[in-house]
Symmetry: C2
Subunit: 132 residues, 2 copies
DNA sequence: CCATGAAACGGGTATATACCCCTAAAACCT
DNA sequence: AGGTTTTAGGGGTATATACCCGTTTCATGG
């Protein structure tokens, strides 16, 4: 039993749950990561790559590349602001529609995971997340 | 508080903990994923890509590519077996040494994560893992 | 107003991961 | 023994992620 690497368990849990969400979201051509990004941009209305990276706790270059994918799919567009270094990201019309279509699919996945794990383990996930 | 996506929490937890292990393992030039792979190969002595994929619960192509990285670093080598389709993976001498050097670093990370999370949340991780 | 420093981003490189399709080889069934 | 099916891998493509470095642009202090 020495192979109980907590990291490995968490990585596997993340992969497995991601696969569930991805399976539902595939119906509208989104991944979970993309859905979360769209959601955060929608929530903020408009925000820069650095701001989004901070909000997601991800590296700036990661967000930059993920945003490029969303732009390629015409879900997100860049608008220049006063600052010549930054460009603000915001949803396109298509992006808003896609996000709206994805929401119930996301909820289905969320509910499925809830029922797989049960309330105690759901609480535990929140606690683990808070402790890191 | 509707942003409590369990998948997102798990993904973030996995990233954060991986970063801790990776930081320690960087001293011997390994990532956590590579360490786990080396460990599984060492344990088995010799096994095929499909067997390793099954053992890791990862896609075969993922393991194939990860194994290529390990071969590039001379940590793993392929040996042909009777079956012309398969090639068995096994550690090189360097791979065994690297793995031995990495073990205490892995343990340091493991202990650090244990103390960050505490016994209850450690138990919860195991439970979550089992439920998926 | 200019020099220096800080902030924002892009690109290069590397890894991890999955899906799909193709080929080769073995196994299996007449 | 030969045709069919299954198994094993490889390669293509796509995404997600991080680190480092270079460039541009802003801010700030003299």
């Amino acid at each position: 039993m020495d192979s109980l690497c907590y990291c490995d368990l968490l990585r596997t849990a993340a992969r497995k749950t991601t696969a569930v969400y991805d399976r539902y979201l595939a119906e509208v051509g989104l991944t979970l990561a993309q859905y979360k990004l769209l959601k955060k941009i929608d929530r903020a209305g408009e925000l820069s790559i650095s701001e989004l990276a901070a909000a997601c706790d991800l590296d700036r270059s990661t967000i930059g590349r993920n945003a490029q994918v969303l732009e390629k799919h015409d879900l997100v567009e860049e608008t220049s602001c006063g600052d010549g270094r930054r460009c603000m990201l915001r949803l396109t019309e298509l992006g808003r529609h896609r996000l709206a279509a994805a929401a119930p699919l996301w909820q289905t996945a969320q509910t499925e995971i809830e029922s797989m794990l049960g309330p105690d383990q759901i609480k535990a996930i929140t606690a683990i997340s808070g402790a890191l």
